[in-house]
């Protein structure tokens, strides 16, 4: 910190000014205005109380979008987190060859971005002549047709495959950094004390990476609740039989296809509340851990 006589000086405030002005105009104001809009009718002036939220609760499509989004978020994390850690453990092992090359390969999907990944997977998973269909056909010796992009029940699975491909590598890099920060002496000491593979994992590796896994899960969950680009690019919309309808897709349709900005704002606030519940419970878990 710089000298105490600067306590009342305006210098730090002038340095903060650009950020604070932008924050007020393009974050705080739209956030408040969204809340205000959500209590008003489409003419943006008649007060309707909770009618927009009431409509959402009575709309089966919104329930479907919410269910879909939460299902996606859960399935995404259940696979993503163990894979990030597992790959990191593999790449942290000296007996594995070409470690830095492979680390870069896994990480490189981070550079692709959801739009390009969506377009790429929409070609790769094409049912009849896509490369995945070709590959499966070659393996099984007969044409195999899986409706990755046309079957309602498989829609979310296809989205999940693309999003795991996109994100596991980056998560792996964070886990690897956490693993490398664990003192190797700890592991040796545990071995000498007779701890097996599982014991070392349970009592040394896991505590060492648990903070990183917590952050990855929290950010992963918050990001997954905002799913939009991947399904839009994979299916050109909510997918076969609305199988990949998400909350943000519902918001976008309400706001920009139907032109009902107040309803879109209400959806946005439902998303804010969902996010708050997820991050609040994550913080609670983290706090309890620290206390114990």
């Amino acid at each position: 910190m710089i000298s105490p006589q600067a306590r009342r000086s305006l210098t730090p405030w002038t340095m903060l000014a650009p950020l604070l002005l932008l924050f007020a105009a393009f974050f705080a104001y739209p956030l408040a205005r969204s809340l205000w809009l959500s209590f008003h009718a489409t003419d943006r002036s008649t007060f309707v109380g909770l009618a927009n939220f009431g409509f959402l609760l009575s709309d089966p499509l919104f329930w479907w979008a919410t269910f879909n989004t939460i299902f996606y978020t859960t399935a995404y994390l259940v696979i993503q987190i163990p894979f990030c850690l597992g790959l990191a453990i593999l790449l942290n092992n000296r007996r594995v060859h070409w470690r830095s090359l492979l680390r870069f390969l896994f990480f490189s999907t981070y550079l692709v971005g959801p739009v390009f990944a969506g377009v790429l997977f929409s070609q790769i998973l094409a049912p009849r002549d896509g490369p995945v269909a070709d590959l499966l056909g070659n393996i099984f010796g007969r044409p195999i047709e899986i409706g990755w992009l046309t079957d309602r029940r498989l829609a979310m699975t296809s989205v999940l495959i693309a999003s795991w491909w996109l994100s596991i590598g980056a998560g792996m890099v964070y886990c690897l950094a956490a693993l490398q920060a664990i003192d190797p002496a700890l592991r040796e000491a545990a071995s000498i004390d007779g701890a097996g593979c599982w014991g070392r994992f349970r009592h040394i590796t896991l505590p060492g990476v648990s903070a990183t896994l917590g952050v990855l899960s929290l950010l992963g969950a918050v990001g997954a609740l905002q799913l939009f680009e991947l399904p839009v690019l994979l299916f050109g919309g909510p997918g076969p039989g609305l199988g990949a309808l998400t909350i943000v897709m519902y918001l976008f349709n309400a706001g920009f296809e139907t032109g009902n900005a107040p309803l879109a704002a209400a959806v946005g606030w439902v998303l804010v509340v969902l996010t708050a519940i997820v991050s609040g419970s994550a913080l609670l878990v983290a706090n309890r851990r620290v206390r114990r």
Partner: protein
Amino acid sequence: MRAVSTIVLNLATISCAIAFAMPFWWMVRGASSDRFAPMRELFKRQPVGTWLLNSIFLASVYSVLVVLICSLAGFALAKYDFRGRRMVIGVMLLTVLVPPQVLLPAGFELVTWLGWVNSFPAVIVPGLANVFGVMLFISAMRHVPDDLLHAARVDGCSELRLWWSIALPLVRPMIGAFTLMSFLGSWNSFLWPQVVLIDDAKHTLPIGLANMSALPHDATGLMYAGVLVGIMPAALLFFALQRDFVDGLASGAVKE
């Protein structure tokens, strides 16, 4: 026993690596088939050149501005003790996880009122208040030694130059890391630009490619080529900033 487990470990890693690499391989194969015919076709048939330039322009201007604004704010919050400092940091922490989509309806209203629809400021300016970036720079700026700043001030250095000439060079890895993150963020952004940019000539590569893929056609090679073109600039920037990126992430992770 040990030899067997070594083989298993390597096999597991390699098979994961192959699974991860396949989409890239299929993309390159598709885009380069028929002596790069899809590539030539792509630039001939679609205004891909324009989209590419738009994307590069938007991402470059955005990352330069956001690094300047966030590092200045991060410097003020990390290196000055003033009333309200804790409150500013607290408010930012509260908002860092707010889903940006909630701002869509009111944000669109706002840029319409400003007359920015279909222009580049509508894409660049709203994203400049990047709270996450400020947090990163607060943690990086903490490592700038106070003594150095004091000495420079005694020598008559202005407060703004403390930031520009002393603090910024010292947090270079974080600048590299955050430049890459913001460039990628802008490069891959879709929802907001697609809402505010209307003309085909104003579109970015993701929007153009998305519209292309919505058209009914069987030009698979064209789509592969589009994705390849879309990944290249991000990959080039990553190679240029790779060192900083790793160091920057590491410096942000260190706790005192």
